[in-house]
């Protein structure tokens, strides 16, 4: 498997960054994961726009010719890895670069940003999409700039691991008594035919898939309210589901062992899945 690192394509096993890279010592970087279907990048512009937003948020400067070459690099990468046919994902990470000795403040003089891309084959979680998943609730212990897609991902990894050890698929995170998102996906709820999701703010990542779902809701005439769902109301919901780049639209049928709705994927999530699939694969 080949990856791209700072101007060259090389074997993944040989790809290495300096121990002084601020990605390694501070988690000082942002990332994106994009779905690729038969060589076609889904929502590519939106991912690149969010990358720019993240870089601005962290004040990481990426030379414009490198930024502009990311689509071409991504295409060459999937070609080299045989991921231009069928389904794949492309992972892209940009850090503030390497500077020694380590200082909290940004390096002076500036150093070039580190740019890393990898690609992998992808198999959609078809069975989970059909049957739905079990989750647990966990406290949302993340920082309060969750709108930035950074590699400071410890709380996310720990929550996923906690879910795995609890024998469930993922977690629903709770901050101040309301549902925010999952460690790696946004969350939508359905009550009495209306869709609810946490408002775009510093408390959630404004997912690319989330935006597609909001657009789909409009096109299907499903009323949408961007308001948080209270933890106390979780078990009274009719439907609940995750949305994300690799999660797609994934019904949640059980939370903390209690059924949501009748414990099977509901009518609204199914209609959204259908429309989402036609946009992703159409």
């Amino acid at each position: 498997m080949q990856v791209y690192l700072n101007g060259e394509f090389l074997d993944q096993k040989k790809a290495a960054v300096s121990v002084a890279d601020r990605g390694f010592v501070f988690g000082d970087g942002v990332y994106e994961v994009t779905r690729v279907v038969n060589g076609k990048f889904f929502q590519e512009k939106e991912h690149l726009d969010r990358l720019d937003e993240g870089l601005r948020g962290l004040k990481i400067k990426l030379r414009s010719e490198i930024r502009d070459s990311i689509p071409n690099i991504s295409r060459e990468l999937i070609q080299r890895n045989g991921h231009a046919e069928g389904e794949a994902t492309v992972y892209l990470q940009v850090t503030r670069g390497a500077a020694f000795p380590r200082t909290h403040t940004f390096p002076e003089p500036e150093v070039p940003a580190t740019v890393y891309l990898s690609s992998g084959p992808f198999k959609p979680h078809k069975e989970l999409h059909e049957k739905g998943v079990d989750v647990i609730t966990v406290p949302d212990v993340r920082w309060t700039r969750c709108n930035l897609k950074t590699v400071n991902l410890l709380p996310n990894t720990l929550a996923r691991q906690q879910a795995k050890e609890a024998g469930v698929n993922s977690a629903v995170m709770i901050r101040d008594g309301v549902v925010t998102e999952s460690p790696n996906a946004n969350i939508f709820a359905v009550k009495d035919g209306t869709l609810y999701t946490f408002p775009a703010s510093n408390y959630i990542l404004n997912g690319i898939t989330r935006k597609v779902i909001i657009d789909i809701a409009k096109s299907l005439d499903i009323p949408l309210v961007t308001e948080p769902v209270r933890q106390d109301d979780l078990y009274e919901l009719d439907e609940l589901f995750f949305t994300g780049t690799t999660t797609d639209v994934q019904p949640i049928v059980r939370v903390d062992g209690r059924e949501i709705g009748n414990g099977t994927p509901g009518r609204i999530v199914k209609s959204i899945q259908q429309e989402y699939n036609s946009r992703l694969y159409g």
Copy 2:
């Protein structure tokens, strides 16, 4: 300059970790910084105990023979770098290791932890200790497991950078209306002869230097209350100071442009500095 990485000493410029290292893609690791004075490691056991605590907190498994060899590795490193005389610091970082492809959950099968050490010459901030520093207040946007000394340090680096751009030395972080700590030091306040500091909890790092200062306060018969200082009371304090491994005991004389006390280091911080220096250098 040499560093230690996963079993070998090598030139810092050649030391590199895999792009799949979870330190790089998730910030999934912990670190320690230890002061060294003429080859003597200050509070070494305490730093290693906290390392163990951090590893347990993140469930990172470090082979016991490697863990036990850290003191020897540290000593060989400062010898090789000529840091065994005069003042130096040793930086130690342990991550969960490298696993490809990237998954939020812990690697299966387990992979060896990445162990990285570097050393550098250190010059105490003597002038700042004598004159005191200016700071700004910034919101404490960190996650709520600040007791773990992890490399998820983006909020810390951004706050330091913000302070630098504001033309001051550092920042005092405010969460829910109270002072927590600085991006890289604990904070003590003095009012009417009593010392105040945020209680050891998940909202601050329980600093090694913080514990030394608490011990010093006892030995000097200075009353200590482990209660948070309210932001509203900041400007009415008699004294305010940072404590940390590389910060030592550093008076804060101005916050957001307003003087603390009479704008010069106070009586109590000076007595604590004196005792701290005798312990560090004695």
